[in-house]
Subunit: 121 residues, 2 copies
DNA sequence: CTAACCGTATTATTCGTCATAGTACAGTTA
DNA sequence: TAACTGTACTATGACGAATAATACGGTTAG
């Protein structure tokens, strides 16, 4: 586990769990058909209630990231389609944000500079 | 008033009021020292509770967008400093979003295309 | 077989935020 | 003086998030 729950975050815990695991799947750290930690063990590791993990897992399955087998566990799904959707969502966000920046009087040069921000690090 | 409350929005009402007025101030539609609608009249216009408007106005003042004079009303502040902060926030968001896009495998060309999205429409 | 795991479901309770309702007070202004 | 203004306070209802405590059936290793 690379991430932790931030209890000062205003986002609900189950949502932090969802995005934490989403990141692990998208980055390839969790490969397809690999098992996720069990509901109970992850709850223990993160010091939160098992029901909260269950809620996160239910959403991960609903979002197409995982599949569950009662008695066996939860597993990573083939995520190509989901990744494509995520890409398109991100590009749409990018367009909206750039437009909003222009409304604030940000120049094209500033936008370009922000985008190339740490690509050279 | 150019905007309305969206009751299906998951964002709280008072937050929609805050960003609605923020937009009017930033766009220059509400000029510095110009009075905002009164707590009670705006509540009537939007069909919501005056306490909700009061909460929004309290936050607008705390964020540096307005100043209030008991007995007289709420007024638009000089907003140059705030606009500068907003610009920098937006540029930081832009950098983070572009980085996230690259992690998803989005190419530089796709990023550029998204940014120039509707600048030609 | 059985004990120890798995996901899943259900009910109850607690907590905080949002929104509403009602009332009140002091300052401003026509 | 009457009608505004912002501001403050308490009470209430609704809702989501999180916890707690069980319970059930499927899977699997010893």
């Amino acid at each position: 586990m690379l991430w932790r729950i931030d209890f000062r975050d205003k986002r609900p815990i189950y949502e932090q769990v969802v995005s934490g695991i989403e990141d692990e799947i998208i980055s390839g750290l969790l490969a397809p058909d690999e098992p996720l930690p069990s509901v109970r063990s992850l709850a223990t590791d993160l010091s939160i209630n098992p029901n909260t993990i269950q809620k996160a897992y239910r959403q991960l399955e609903a979002d197409g990231y995982t599949y569950s087998v009662p008695g066996r566990g939860s597993f990573v799904k083939d995520t190509e389609g989901v990744k494509e959707m995520k890409k398109e969502d991100t590009l749409r966000e990018l367009t909206a944000l750039a437009d909003r920046a222009r409304e604030l009087g940000v120049t094209e040069e500033e936008i370009q500079k922000a985008i190339k921000g740490d690509s050279h690090k």
